[in-house]
C-alpha cells in the first residue's frame, strides 16, 4: 500500500462555508493508507503548495490527494508542486469538493459527508495511479489561415511578421472579403478600400505569405503542431503566373449578363472577369458555368485577345497537400436572406435594398458609380427610411430566417449611412426606425449622436410594420412611433433594411473537418468565453473575426492579432508535450474487431497484422489495434466500445475507476 497524503482546501469560505474541512481532513487521515492529512485556507497559494511539497519529503509520500476545486482549475498547479518535490506529477489526484460539492449543497452535514466520500474515492484511485511521462511531438512551423477577409489578412500578416510562413486559403478569386464592398468605415468615415488595399498588397508581396485564392479546404487530418491539409484549387482557366491582369479578356468577352457578385447582383459582369480593380491576385477568372467556350465549346475570343497567352480552357482543379502546425478559421459572414420578410416588400421593389446593397450604391465603384440613386428609375431619393434589426433579435421561427442574437454592427453602419446621405445630399429626409440604439465602443455613441444632432437624422423609436409599393413608384412605410404613441405613414423613395448577419455557409463543414465545436447559430465556439476567446477547444485551431461571433472591423482586427499571437506562441515551440493520459491496447486481449477505430473521433487508432508465433503453438498472425499517442486525446470512447476489454486509458484505467466506485459504495 502506498503512503498517501491528503490536503483539504478551504478555498476561503467557498468550500469551508458548506463543508467542515477539519472533519474531512481528520476522517480521511484515518484511512488505512493515509499517513498525513491536513487542511489549509488556500491550497493553491504558494504557502499551500509548500505544505504539499514539505509533506511529500517529510512523510515520504507516494501519492497525493488534494481535496479542492475542479481539476480543470488547479490540477496543473498541484501537478507542478508534486513534481517539484520529486514525485511523478501523475501520482496526484484532485477530489473536486467545490464545484461538485460545496457549491451545490446548502447543508453542512451532507456536504461534509459527501466531501469525505469524494476524498476516499480519490485515495482509492491514487493507489493505482501509474507514474506517467508525457511524450513529445514536433511542431510544423507553418500556419494556415482559412478565409482571406480582413480577419484572415490581419492574422496572416501578423504571423508572417513574426517570421513564420503562412498560407491563406480564400474561396473567392480574390482576397479582401466584405471590406472590399464597403464604402466608408465608422466611426472615422475613412474609405474602406483605402485602408484595406495596402494590406491586401502586403499579403501578396510578403514572402512568408502564400495566397491560395479560388481555393477551398478539402480535408484536414492530424493534430496540433502537425496538421495535414488538402487544399482544392479550383480551375480558373487562366494561368495565374502568366496573366498580367490587363483586363482585355474581361472587356472582349461576349457574355455580359452574369450577375456581378461584387455588386451583389445589382449589376452584371462578363463571364471572363476580375472581381474588382484592386483584386489580389489581379488575375482573370473564367466563369465555367457561363463561358461559351467552356459550356458549348465555341467562342474562344478571350484566348485570341490575351497577349500573355494565359487563357487555358483545359485547366483542371488541383489538390495541394501541405503540413501546418496551426490552423486559423477566419471564414467570416454574410447578410441573411430576407426574402421571407414580405412586409418589407424586398422582393417586390427594387428600391427596397439591404444595407450591404446600399453600401454598393454609395461606393464609387458600385452599380451607380457612387451616386445615390433609386435602382428602379435612377432618380435621387428624397426620403429614405432605414429599418434596423431586420432578422436580428428574433425568437422562435416566425419567419424561419431570423436570428436570436444582436448582429452588433447594424446600429453603427446605419448611423453612418444616414450621416453620409445627409452629408452628400442635404435635401434628403432620413428616418431611422430602431428598437434600441446600441453603440458601445470608442467614439461610437458620439458618432450616433452626431447623426442626430449635427446631421438632423430622424431617429424614431419603433418598428416598421409594413412597406407598400405605390403606383407612383414611392413606398408607403407604416411604422409605430412608440415615444409619441402614434402610427406613422411615411412616403419614402427608398427603404434600407439592416439585415442580420450569419456565419458563412462554409463554416459548418469546415468545423466538422477541424473537429472544432460550434454553437447553434454556426458560430465557432471559443475555448473559454472570457479567458480564451481566440482559441477553439480543439488544440491548434484558432478563431479570427466574425466566424466566432458578430463584430465590427476594429474588433475583428484586434481579435485577428490576438489569434496570430496565439499561433506564434505555438509555432515558436519546437516540441509540444503530449497528454500522457491516452488510450493503449493490450495486444494479447485485442481481437481486431475495429470497434475502437470506429468510435475514435480523432482517427488515432490503426490496425496492423502482428506475428504472435511461438515455437510450441506454431505460427499465429493476428490483427491488433495500436494507438497513435500523439493523436489520441484521451476521451475514452474506445475503452467503452472494446468488447474484449483490451483498450484502457492511462490515468483513468478501468481498475482505477472501479476502485473509485468501490470506495464510494463502501
Amino acid at each position: 500500500m502506498r503512503r498517501i497524503g491528503v490536503f483539504v482546501c478551504h478555498c476561503g469560505t467557498n468550500i469551508a462555508g458548506t463543508v467542515d474541512v477539519k472533519t474531512v481532513a481528520e476522517t480521511l487521515g484515518k484511512e488505512p493508507a493515509v499517513v498525513y492529512a491536513t487542511d489549509y485556507p488556500y491550497m493553491c497559494s504558494e504557502a499551500g503548495q509548500n505544505i504539499i511539497k514539505d509533506a511529500i519529503k517529510e512523510y515520504k509520500l507516494e501519492g497525493v490527494v488534494v481535496c479542492s476545486c475542479s481539476p480543470r482549475m488547479h490540477e496543473a498547479t498541484f501537478r507542478k508542486a508534486v513534481s517539484a518535490a520529486g514525485l511523478n506529477p501523475y501520482l496526484l489526484e484532485v477530489a473536486n469538493i467545490r464545484e461538485q460539492c460545496s457549491w451545490i449543497h446548502k447543508d453542512m452535514e451532507a456536504g461534509t459527508a459527501k466531501a469525505i466520500v469524494l476524498g476516499r474515492a480519490a485515495i482509492a484511485k491514487v493507489q493505482l495511479n501509474a507514474p506517467l511521462i508525457a511524450g513529445e511531438s514536433p511542431v510544423v512551423k507553418r500556419a494556415l489561415v482559412i478565409g482571406g477577409g480582413i480577419a484572415g489578412i490581419q492574422t496572416a500578416l501578423d504571423i508572417a511578421d513574426a517570421g513564420y510562413p503562412v498560407d491563406i486559403v480564400e474561396k473567392e478569386p480574390t482576397i479582401g472579403g466584405k471590406m472590399t464592398q464597403i464604402d466608408k468605415t465608422f466611426p472615422t468615415l475613412d474609405c474602406s478600400s483605402c485602408i484595406l488595399t495596402p494590406k491586401m498588397v502586403e499579403c501578396a508581396q510578403n514572402e512568408n505569405i502564400t495566397i491560395y485564392s479560388y481555393s477551398e479546404v478539402e480535408a484536414v487530418t492530424g493534430f496540433v503542431g502537425n496538421f495535414s491539409v488538402k487544399i482544392r484549387r479550383k480551375a480558373r482557366f487562366v494561368d495565374e503566373n502568366k496573366c498580367t491582369g490587363c483586363g482585355v479578356c474581361t472587356e472582349k468577352c461576349p457574355v455580359k449578363n452574369v450577375p456581378d457578385e461584387y455588386n451583389l447582383g445589382l449589376s452584371n459582369r462578363h463571364a471572363a472577369y476580375i472581381p474588382f480593380a484592386q483584386a489580389i491576385p489581379n488575375v482573370a477568372v473564367l466563369d465555367k458555368n457561363r463561358c461559351i467556350k467552356l459550356t458549348k465549346g465555341k467562342c474562344g475570343l478571350c484566348s485570341t485577345v490575351c497577349s500573355a497567352g494565359a487563357i487555358d480552357y483545359e485547366q483542371k482543379e488541383t489538390i495541394v497537400e501541405e503540413k501546418y502546425g496551426a490552423i486559423v478559421a477566419a471564414t467570416g459572414y454574410n447578410p441573411i436572406k430576407i426574402d421571407g420578410y414580405d412586409e418589407f416588400a424586398y422582393s417586390q421593389s427594387k428600391d427596397v435594398v439591404t444595407s450591404l446593397e446600399f453600401e454598393r450604391i454609395l461606393k464609387a465603384d458600385g452599380p451607380t458609380d457612387g451616386h445615390l440613386q433609386r435602382l428602379s428609375d435612377g432618380k435621387q431619393p428624397k426620403t429614405i427610411v432605414f429599418v434596423q434589426c431586420v432578422g436580428s433579435r428574433e425568437s422562435g421561427s416566425s419567419h424561419g430566417c431570423g436570428k436570436e442574437y444582436c448582429s452588433k454592427i447594424c446600429c453603427m453602419y446605419t448611423a453612418k449611412h444616414a450621416m453620409l446621405c445627409r452629408e452628400k445630399y442635404p435635401d434628403t429626409d432620413v428616418y431611422v426606425f430602431y428598437i434600441d440604439v446600441r453603440t458601445p465602443g470608442k467614439n461610437y455613441d458620439e458618432f450616433y449622436r452626431r447623426a442626430v444632432e449635427q446631421y438632423g437624422v430622424h431617429y424614431i423609436k419603433g418598428m416598421v410594420g409594413k412597406v407598400a409599393p405605390q403606383a407612383d413608384g414611392s413606398l408607403m412605410v407604416q411604422a409605430s412611433d412608440l415615444i409619441s404613441n402614434e402610427q406613422l405613414h411615411v412616403k419614402a423613395d427608398m427603404v434600407v433594411l439592416a439585415a442580420a448577419i450569419e456565419p458563412d455557409k462554409s463554416a459548418r463543414p469546415l468545423a466538422t473537418m477541424l473537429t472544432a465545436s460550434m454553437d447553434t447559430n454556426d458560430f465557432f465556439t471559443e475555448a473559454h468565453a472570457k479567458l480564451r476567446p481566440v482559441e477553439s477547444p480543439t488544440a491548434g485551431v484558432f478563431l479570427s473575426g466574425v466566424c466566432q461571433g458578430p463584430k465590427d472591423i476594429p474588433e475583428t482586427v484586434a481579435q485577428a492579432g490576438a489569434a496570430a499571437s496565439k499561433v506564434i506562441g505555438l509555432l515558436a515551440k519546437d516540441k509540444l508535450s503530449c497528454n500522457p493520459c491516452v488510450a493503449h491496447s493490450n495486444e494479447m486481449m485485442c481481437n481486431g474487431c475495429s470497434s475502437c477505430a470506429n468510435v475514435c473521433p480523432y482517427g488515432a487508432i490503426t490496425y496492423a497484422d502482428k506475428d504472435f508465433s511461438r515455437r510450441q503453438d506454431g505460427s499465429m498472425i493476428r490483427r491488433v489495434a495500436s494507438v497513435n499517442e500523439a493523436v489520441c486525446q484521451g476521451c475514452g470512447a474506445c475503452t467503452v466500445a472494446c468488447p474484449s476489454g483490451a483498450m484502457d486509458l492511462k490515468g483513468f484505467s478501468t481498475s482505477q475507476i472501479m476502485a473509485e466506485v468501490d470506495a464510494i459504495c463502501k
Partner: protein, 126 residues
C-alpha cells in the same frame, strides 16, 4: 386584479415578458388609429396588471382579429391573443355570449370576407 391578470395570461397563453418593446405590432396594426390602446400597450398593460382599464376600453372591439401583429412579432409575443383574452374576460363576466348564433345570418353581408366572419365569432362569442 392579480386574478384578472392571471386569467388573461392563462386564457391567452401569452408571456408578456418576452416583449422587447420594438413596436412592430403597432407598426403593423391596420386598426391602430381606431384603438385607444394600441397592441404594444396591451402587452405592457397586461404585464403591469392593468386589465380593468383595457376591459373598459372600446379598443378590445376595434381589434380586427387579423393577427398581423402575431404574424410579424419578432419575439412571438402574440399581442392579438391578449386582446382576445381581455375580451373574453369581459364576456365571461356578463355570463353570456355577446352574439347569439341566431342573430348571425341576418347580419351577414355578401361582401363580408370569410375571415371577418370567423373573426367575429372569435370576438363576440365565448
Amino acid at each position: 386584479m392579480a386574478d384578472l391578470k392571471e386569467q388573461v395570461l392563462t386564457a391567452s397563453g401569452v408571456n408578456p415578458l418576452k416583449c422587447m418593446r420594438c413596436g412592430k405590432c403597432s407598426g403593423t396594426c391596420p386598426s391602430y388609429d381606431a384603438m385607444e390602446y394600441h397592441p404594444h400597450q396591451f402587452v405592457y398593460m397586461v404585464e403591469k396588471g392593468d386589465i380593468e382599464t383595457l376591459m373598459k376600453s372600446e379598443s378590445i372591439y376595434k381589434c380586427l382579429s387579423c393577427f398581423a401583429c402575431i404574424e410579424r412579432c419578432p419575439r412571438d409575443v402574440e399581442p392579438a391573443k391578449l386582446v382576445e383574452a381581455v375580451r373574453l374576460a369581459v364576456i365571461r363576466q356578463q355570463g353570456q355570449n355577446h352574439l347569439k348564433p341566431q342573430q348571425v345570418p341576418e347580419m351577414l353581408d355578401e361582401e363580408l370576407p370569410q375571415q371577418a366572419i370567423v373573426s367575429a365569432f372569435r370576438k363576440y362569442s365565448k
